[in-house]
């Protein structure tokens, strides 16, 4: 009952956030000097063609009206037409989303695992912990583009172990999900799977780097605090070894802050994917968005923002739910 209510209120606030988001995007876009009708009609368009394009885009109506129309269409999954690709924005997003999703999810998993390892090792005393702490701080300070180019130089150009960019062989299966890892598993295609993994390694690593460090740092400090608590002392007094106590008592209690930071890191990664996709020629939403922005493609920008905003809100929701599952104290309404 309480849980359901919590979920309901989350969903409500989620919708609120999306409305704010779409409105903000719309408002700002309308303030821009750029003219999407001009983009649609093209550089050599006649004034009549321009007016027609303006009407087609609904730019001749007052702002609020247009916005409400837009919201209405949104409810039907209609994100409008991209003026650069002349496709439905929703179908464009459908095309590019799986690539970004695959990248971000793999990077997210890497970041979680990396953060967990860094956090747990770093929480113990000794030189190893010191080294881990040093690495975490240093890693969190490295500009993405620097790391990306260095890794490319070493692993692609000099060692030749990994490919430089793209998602791999264009013929690799991209059905039914568009997520190549899964698709190739479904098709039991080992070679294509290896190719997919090879292409994923570098961009996912670079994307995961700073989130892993952030998660590791937070986990380390909260785990250290947890390991100093009385209940951990009681558990040790019952004869548990350090790893056993960390596993049974420490992590569960320390994971909360690390999870919230992990949720935040998702938004970091969504943002970071713009640079990563550019550097690794990754055919995803980030590149689509850059193009859309370069061309003042209003519907495309709004569409991507909505999808990203939705993803972010969803992740926050998942994180919250996970926290509730982990910490029984959060299960009751306060």
């Amino acid at each position: 009952m309480g849980l359901l209510k919590q979920i309901a209120s989350r969903v409500a606030s989620m919708l609120g956030v999306l409305v704010v988001l779409t409105f903000a995007v719309y408002f700002i876009q309308r303030q821009l000097p750029s003219d999407p009708a001009r983009v649609l009609a093209g550089r050599t368009a006649s004034p009549e063609a321009l007016a027609a394009a303006r009407e087609q885009l609904g730019l001749d109506k007052p702002f609020l009206l247009e916005y409400f129309h837009y919201l209405g269409r949104l409810l039907h999954g209609d994100l409008g037409i991209s003026v650069t690709s002349r496709n439905e924005v929703s179908s464009d997003i459908g095309t590019y989303l799986p690539a970004t999703l695959e990248l971000v999810v793999v990077a997210g998993v890497l970041a979680l695992i990396g953060g967990l390892i860094l956090g747990v090792i770093g929480a113990r005393d000794g030189w190893l912990a010191g080294a881990v702490r040093f690495v975490s701080v240093a890693g969190a300070s490295a500009p993405t583009f620097l790391v990306a180019i260095l890794l490319l130089l070493v692993f692609y150009r000099d060692l030749g172990w990994l490919p430089a960019g793209g998602r791999g062989d264009a013929l690799a299966a991209s059905e039914p999900t568009g997520l190549r890892l899964i698709d190739n598993l479904v098709h039991l295609d080992g070679a294509a799977l290896a190719d997919t993994v090879n292409h994923l390694v570098l961009p996912a690593l670079v994307l995961a780097l700073s989130p892993a460090m952030a998660i590791g740092r937070v986990l380390r400090s909260s785990l250290r605090a947890t390991m100093a608590t009385d209940f951990v002392r009681s558990a040790s007094a019952k004869g548990g070894s350090w790893p056993a106590v960390v596993w049974r008592h420490g992590l569960r209690n320390a994971l909360g802050p690390a999870l919230s930071i992990a949720g935040v890191q998702v938004s970091v990664m969504l943002g970071g994917s713009v640079i990563i996709e550019m550097l690794f020629s990754w055919p995803g939403l980030g590149n689509y968005l850059s193009d859309a922005i370069a061309n003042s493609d209003l519907s495309a920008i709004a569409g991507v923002v909505i999808v990203l905003g939705f993803a972010y809100v969803l992740i926050t929701f998942v994180v919250d739910t996970l926290q509730i599952l982990i910490d029984p104290r959060l299960r009751e309404p306060v």
Binding site: D230, R233, A235, D327, P328
Partner: protein, 519 residues
């Protein structure tokens, strides 16, 4: 005594306090025989907990702590020995109850699992919970710690301590650090009896760390007195209590407020004006776990406090005493009924149970007092003198004014809080458990201070406690509360001599006293 379960020899523990070494134990030696209950008493900070932890092989302070000497449990070196052996001993032979029950249970693990953590069977866990006086243990094992009250949580951790992995299911040595602080006297009594039974039935040894000599007197075979990291005195319980050798022990015994003592000389209170009238006070709180539902905490309470008198409210934990005081102080609005203070009496000042946390941590004592003085309209130039005067009144050195609360000891904080209350020149002082957190010596000092203040300044006191000894020492009138109602009320002599309500009788019976042992 080569067959001792535990042996401590010349134990020195030296901590590193931001670079400067600090010796918490300065060469302590102690043996505990099988089936023996040893009570470790001493002032706060004397090293009792550190000693207990060393027995468990859990050295506080990490790798910068220096330890010399030997600690053996069942023949295993608990300090220098291999971690694996230490774990085996902890798992099979030791039981530990830590000082703070509220924080020693993992909030993310069901209590049943925590009791069984060392591998005991479900049945053994149930039995242990029953033995520790947990009602409905079959249901409770599925609870999360936060769903239990403080007292229940303490009982659960005791149950965890007495269920070891070995077949007997009972450890051979239990280290119990202040195991009854969160319990009211009746449950405390139950636990003490449980310890006695564990020794009798299973031959279990117990190191009972406590600051309450009364508890020690009830079951200990031997008393060990510590102060400043050294053992001052030890011997059979009766001897130590009857013929204390060391000056420190004597002081401890003298200052203890005991329920068995005579009543202090009655002070005449003129039947004056009522300065505080609570009539038909009802208070509802939203019920936890249930949205929208209410829980009634106070069921129509009447209290009349007269000028210059000292009314003590006693009652079990959770019966609504603090809530009543907060209503009187205007910090809480009653759901029904009225709280009246005539304007002449001024705003009642509340002195909190935990004095340290009632002082703003980042402000010096001086600024906290001056702030009150300013609010009371004292001109700026007079304030320093007035601060010094107030501090003098509570027996604090005027130089303490510059200190922040964390630089003061518990007793000093309690006095500073009283001084701060006095700065507002109140007609009424409301005191919530003013001494329960203090050791015997400090407690006596604070109680005396309050009594003196009442006699000298004529301030009215409304004081809450669960310790009848405190009530006896300071009260002119006593009101007994249970379940949100006042069930008995009367002059102090009358309550002690002829309690009428069964609950009052139970309270008097369960209150520990040294008198039985000492005589």
């Amino acid at each position: 005594m080569s067959d001792a379960v535990a042996r401590i020899e010349k134990l020195v523990v030296q901590f590193d306090r931001s670079g400067t070494p600090f010796r918490a134990l300065k060469g302590v030696s102690l043996d505990i025989a099988p089936g023996e209950i040893v009570a470790l008493v001493g002032e706060s900070g004397s090293g009792k907990t550190v000693l207990g932890n060393c027995l468990l092989g859990l050295v506080p302070g990490g790798h910068r702590t220096r330890i010399t000497g030997r600690v053996e449990v069942g023949g295993t070196d608990m300090v220098g020995g291999p971690e694996k052996d230490k774990r085996r001993v902890r798992r099979n032979e030791l039981g530990a109850v830590f000082q703070d029950p509220l924080t020693s249970l993992d909030p993310t693990m069901r209590v049943g699992k925590q009791v069984r953590e060392r591998g005991a069977t479900a049945q053994r866990a149930l039995d242990a919970l029953t033995e520790c006086g947990v009602p409905e243990p079959g249901q409770r094992i599925r609870y999360w710690p936060h769903q239990l009250s403080g007292g229940l949580r303490q009982r659960v951790s005791i149950a965890g301590a007495i269920t070891a992995a070995d077949p007997g299911g009972v450890p051979s040595l239990i280290v119990a650090d202040e195991p009854t602080t969160a319990l009211d006297v009746r449950v405390q009594d139950q636990i003490i009896k449980l310890f006695a039974r564990l020794r009798d039935d299973h031959g279990c040894s117990i190191l009972l760390i406590t600051h309450d000599l009364g508890v020690a007197a009830q079951i200990a075979d031997r008393i060990v007195v510590m102060s400043e990291g050294e053992i001052r005195e030890h011997g059979p319980t009766a001897r130590v209590l009857r013929e204390p050798q060391h000056a420190y022990t004597k002081k401890l015994l003298e200052s203890r407020l005991d329920i068995a003592g005579p009543l202090p000389p009655a002070s005449v209170v003129e039947a004056g004006e009522p300065v505080l009238t609570l009539s038909e006070v009802v208070k509802d709180f939203p019920a936890p776990h249930k949205r929208g539902e209410k829980r009634r905490v106070l069921h129509g309470v009447d209290v009349r406090l007269e000028a210059g008198e000292s009314l003590v409210l006693v009652g079990e934990s959770g019966c609504g005493k603090s809530t009543l005081l907060r209503i009187a102080a205007g910090l809480e609005t009653p759901t029904g009924g009225r709280a009246d203070v005539p304007p002449a009496a001024g705003r009642p000042q509340l002195i909190f149970q935990d004095a340290r946390s009632s002082l703003t941590p980042w402000l010096s004592i001086n600024s906290q007092l001056s702030e009150r003085l300013a609010a009371a309209g004292v001109p700026r130039k007079d304030r320093p003198a007035r601060v010094a005067e107030l501090l003098g009144q509570v027996g604090l050195d005027a130089r303490m004014a510059a200190s922040r609360p964390r630089q003061l000891s518990g007793g000093q904080c309690q006095r500073a809080a009283i001084a701060r209350a006095l700065a507002s020149s109140p007609g009424i002082l409301l005191c919530d458990e003013p001494v329960s957190a203090l050791d015997a010596t400090l407690a006596a000092q604070v109680v005396d201070l309050l009594d003196d203040l009442r006699r000298s300044t004529g301030v009215s006191l409304l004081l809450v406690t669960h310790d009848l000894a405190v009530a006896k020492r300071i009260a002119t009138r006593i009101a007994v509360m249970t379940d949100g109602r006042i069930v008995e009320e009367g002059p102090v002599e009358q309550i002690f001599a002829s309690p009428a309500h069964p609950y009052t009788k139970q309270l008097l019976e369960a209150s520990p006293s040294l008198a039985a042992v000492a005589s």
